[in-house]
Subunit: 685 residues, 2 copies
């Protein structure tokens, strides 16, 4: 077969420019982008005869499961009535999978694979079954169509990840997330080749695992919202089939209000009324690191939990302990003196070292947030780097310094998706960047994790906070550093985002659900228009100081329907940049279309029978409408009066005030347009 | 407080006319409609101080759980930031719940309650905790609002159900439905006061429960899609908290392909290759009722299952056994002669009686589909009446005759929601109708069950097949027979349908999901328009003879996006009736609006980049557009040519051919309009 070869060489020095010149990135909606891909002209037509053979050992559960899921998704996407819904015997499949061995999941797991699509046959080869299932996800992304056929695009792919740790953390303490939420997010993770699910199981707001040894933990400290041990095992097995490791986190000694609600005798402050926390923030309840019963408790608890979580890594949190109750406790002060612990940091290191001994005995490696990296902490611990500029520390956090000091380390600074920052922001954070590391140091940089803290997310909204942004982060962890063209990534991400909906992720569909709920099932058109230019407040400005929202407060508000990277705002802002740069009429017309939609939108809004949830948006809607109408006229007439300029400025000022926990994200560009008009059009009095 | 009294007297003879005269049914969106309701002028404003006290024993799980759910839904719906997210101590709540006792769930459970809403206080009183949770669901339906406040509408309600058995059956064999699907449907059932979940767990297409005694059942006969015993217990406990009983069904001796895949030695035909069935229909594999091992197997299996399902009733299926393999088996023929069993019916009765003995020993009451009602069957069995006109039997099925013969009985004939018939159709089926029964006979008519057979439904579509139709059926089971005004029910149902979305039911949101999937995320406007005048083929015309669709065939097609009671078709057809009756201009304009939308829609459709899933709809879209355009012109010009009449007839004929498993449901009324034009407008050559 004649092949057109466009071998993409992935080199560290590959420039952004070079990429934008290649057509391949535009021809395939692959994400994460593979290590090597060669185009060929084949078209493997998808018809009823599609059949998959797992060569050799087809009883292997991981590949078998992935194959069945692959066939179900293929059928859903194409509408093709296939004959064989399950793997077929060796010689009969036209998609053939081979692999050498069944992998244990750990940081050494080989996830590489080769994939060849020709006209009549597709071959997948991998060293391990995990590599094979990664290949099936790539293959799903090669499905395309014309008016008459669906087909797999011809390609030869040789792929392997850049980092061994590509994680997503979900906090199930602040808001509990049922098994269904976890499972669909595991599926989504696997679809973009992520391989670590970090399960933040305990915090001030709830202890979410059944304990048979300390049953008061789930009985008194979860409001009945916890996972049974059977459910934990089920999720771990489910993740394993998807090639995803599960790292549990039991956050101690701080973030411990829930534990202390159940067992106040472990607390640092006698007579304190410990209770499940309903607000957000950093709280005082802390385990007492000087009492033997604390270690007995943790050893028993960890011993009970370890069989549920087979992975070697075990996260003990260790973050944000301000030690207020330690300072207030004379016995603890005495203990510090006796043991020559001069600071609370020292005391916490003492605590962490004792935990490490416990976990070592249990065959586990201790992992903790970067606060645990104190001078005396053994380098057998794993540093989870989270603090950075936002916390008054250097950008990029402690990752590189941890790796240089001999710790294995994982980066979350820059991947805090709960901060509601843009895709672009997260995508441009590279774990290593320009830093030069020795091979040993480099090996210690395991990878990164997006962190979904759940103060402000419920099962209805969590998907729209995780996706599609986390898919871009997944590419950062899997693909070469040189794969960094943002526009191209955004274009591929659009398809991926939609594929996530096919998997059951609710990030697209639940916007309409919330808007219908807000209006009690009226026509939501006008709110949809507004939601595409508004974003939820960023960087913890929503829920300031953690005391606006309780865990049971409403998350069915306009802010919950809005998402980061508001669709029309992004497009509009791009158009404005383009227009300012070259002022073409086509671009101007596209801009006017937006202004016209927004200008007319308040008329639609006014048709709503308002209620206490929609009423506060009335002024926002009106102001957007007025300012858009004025700008529309200016550009129509190519003339602007000083009075209008002043009016527009007033509307923009008014719109700068956040309403209902959202911000309008077209204001800067409306201003640009106004400036353009002042400079280029006739200005009248 | 001065009260305006509109006491609704619910009498058997209450006429439809009398109802439409009352305003109360229009003032409250209550569904099912309560037994007695008195309006009062109170408004209980919902603010941050809303708090619920459970008087007396507040540790009781059922009411506590319902209270927390009530508060969560109240907050979601109103956006109010309440202070107290959990029940508060006795004297502090402004919503006070009292009940006398905690109920066991069975057919004697008292579900009555009284509910009084005044300006500052709401009181719920019930004999049992189950009555109290029914009241909380009524209270949620009393939430309404103006522009500034949400409030509970004043009312005094005294309520109790008409039937003790108000069920929904879900078939999880043809398509497996995960725990999340079951739980959200249980919540939905509870919201309309249904109290029986019938779980059809086994059939030819899969055995869906883990068995530790016969593990091959779930290992070989489920494709890995089954519930663990822990999950079953979890669902049963979840249902119990909602006041819902769970009746398991193990379908024998027919519908047994899955069982025989695992244990072929129990089959009636030696050497037959038993395998999980992928198609739909009635199949030959049948347990051998003459072998002792069959009864040993069933006794062991039932003994294992009985502790999982505490309810007294235990469903053994017993339907659609044609006995083909029995006829072909000489040993079975011999056995029949030895035991004087002249027909296969007799043989099955022999089998059923042995099963009844087994279940009696286990403390259970045998329930079966109406085929089990043979002359020798003891009246201790419960008859589940399903066959009727569709199966060549009298309308209304065997229910009345069973009750007269001394059997307890439950009606499903008329409530087969998988047949895709209208809400109206199901709502007008009354279990008893005009039949006069003695009190003893009446007591044996326990109630009814909607049946969701799952040949053509997946987790993505099942909710839109169950809801909102089943809510109308729920009213039929709960409310007086005299509550039968269809238009009024439809108006209340609209609100209920939307409240179901709040609960997580996906019947509204998943239409857009499927249409986005069909178009690969293009603008779905044109398909939405078509989907509102198309319905999936009815009464098993889709999947004719069960061989079009395999269990793994696509259910992401246009037919899956369409629902019964297509929204615009219903409205249009009503307008046409109105127009034919009185020919007003306002109605005519509303009709023209629809014709204009449909006429213009093909232009939108043509903008789609077509694919193999959307391409087959092209002609449908075109024909709808053409016929609508022609009719629009006729009504504009009040003139019609013979040529146009002939063209319109041709388009309508073409549209009568089902496309992509849907039918266009405005054709009859388009024809009415054409007839009207011929009779009333100028007809030219």
């Amino acid at each position: 077969m004649k092949k057109i070869i466009f071998l993409i060489l992935i080199l560290g020095v590959f420039s952004r420019n070079a990429f934008s010149q290649t057509t391949l990135l535009q021809e395939y909606n692959l994400l994460p982008w593979p290590k090597e891909i060669t185009k060929n002209s084949a078209k493997f037509i998808i018809n009823s005869g599609v059949a998959v053979s797992i060569m050799g050992d087809d009883s292997q559960e991981r590949v078998r499961n992935a194959t069945v899921n692959f066939l179900r998704r293929l059928v859903t996407r194409t509408g093709i009535f296939i004959e064989e819904g399950f793997p077929v015997a060796n010689d009969r499949g036209n998609i053939k999978i081979t692999f050498n061995s069944v992998a244990e999941l750990n940081i050494q797991t080989d996830e590489s694979y080769q994939l060849h699509v020709s006209d009549k046959e597709i071959r997948i080869h991998a060293k391990t079954d995990v590599g094979a299932i990664r290949a099936l996800n790539t293959l799903l992304q090669l499905i395309t169509h014309d008016a008459t056929d669906y087909y797999f695009q011809g390609a030869d792919i040789n792929d392997a990840p850049r980092f061994v740790w590509r994680g997503l953390m979900i906090d199930v303490s602040r808001h509990f997330h049922p098994i269904g939420v976890i499972k669909r997010n595991l599926e989504a993770m696997a679809s973009v080749k992520m391989n670590v699910f970090h399960w933040h199981l305990t915090d001030d707001q709830g202890f979410r695992v059944e304990s048979k040894v300390y049953p008061k933990l789930h009985q008194l400290a979860s409001d009945g919202l916890y996972y049974t041990q059977e459910q934990i095992k089920d999720v771990v097995a489910y993740a394993n089939k998807l090639g995803i490791r599960v790292i549990p986190e039991f956050d101690v000694p701080g973030h411990a209000s829930a534990i202390l609600t159940a067992y106040p005798e472990l607390g640092s402050k006698d007579g304190y009324h410990y209770a499940i926390e309903r607000f957000s923030g950093v709280f005082d309840p802390t385990l007492d690191p000087t009492k033997d019963i604390t270690y007995t408790f943790l050893e028993n608890l960890f011993s009970e939990m370890v069989p549920l979580f087979p992975d070697t890594y075990f996260h003990i949190g260790g973050d944000e302990n301000e030690g207020k109750h330690w300072d207030e406790n004379e016995e603890i002060q005495k203990f510090k003196k006796q043991h020559n612990l001069t600071s609370n940091h020292d005391l916490q290191t003492y605590f962490n070292i004792r935990l490490e001994e416990i976990l070592n005995k249990l065959g586990k490696k201790l992992m903790g947030w970067d606060e645990i990296m104190t001078p005396n902490m053994p380098t057998t611990a794993v540093i989870h780097s989270w603090r950075g500029e936002n916390e008054g520390l250097p950008k990029g956090g402690s990752l590189i310094s941890a790796a240089k000091q001999g710790y294995q380390t994982v980066l979350s600074n820059g991947y805090y998706i709960d901060r509601m920052l843009s895709i672009k922001h997260h995508y441009t954070v590279d774990p290593i960047g320009d830093v030069v590391l020795t091979p040993e140091q480099r090996a210690r940089v395991l990878g990164g994790e997006a962190t979904m803290w759940s103060e402000l997310v419920t099962p209805r909204t969590i998907d729209s906070r995780i996706w599609p942004r986390t898919a871009a982060i997944a590419e950062r962890f899997w693909s070469a550093q040189s794969v960094n063209d943002i526009d191209n990534m955004l274009s591929r991400l659009k398809t991926v985002s939609f594929d996530l909906e096919e998997l059951g992720i609710t990030h697209i569909r639940n916007k309409a659900v919330i808007l219908r709920s807000m209006t009690h099932n009226q026509d939501i058109k006008s709110l949809e228009v507004l939601s595409k230019i508004c974003e939820p407040l960023k960087i913890y400005k929503r829920n300031k100081d953690g005391v606006e929202y309780k865990t049971f407060s409403p998350f069915s508000l306009f802010a919950d329907a809005c998402v980061v990277d508001a669709e029309d705002a992004l497009k509009f802002n791009n158009l404005v940049s383009q227009f300012i740069a070259d002022g073409g009429m086509e671009v101007q017309n596209a801009l006017l279309d937006y202004l016209s939609i927004w200008s007319n939108n308040h008329e639609e809004f006014r048709k709503l029978d308002l209620n206490p949830k929609t009423k506060p948006l009335e002024n926002l809607s009106l102001n957007v409408s007025e300012v858009s109408g004025l700008l529309f006229e200016i550009f129509q007439n190519r003339e602007v009066s000083k009075k209008t300029i002043s009016e527009i400025n007033q509307y923009i000022e008014a719109l700068k005030q956040p309403v209902e926990d959202v911000e309008v994200v077209i204001l800067r560009d409306l201003n640009y347009l106004l400036n353009y008009a002042e400079e280029n059009f006739k200005v009248s009095e």
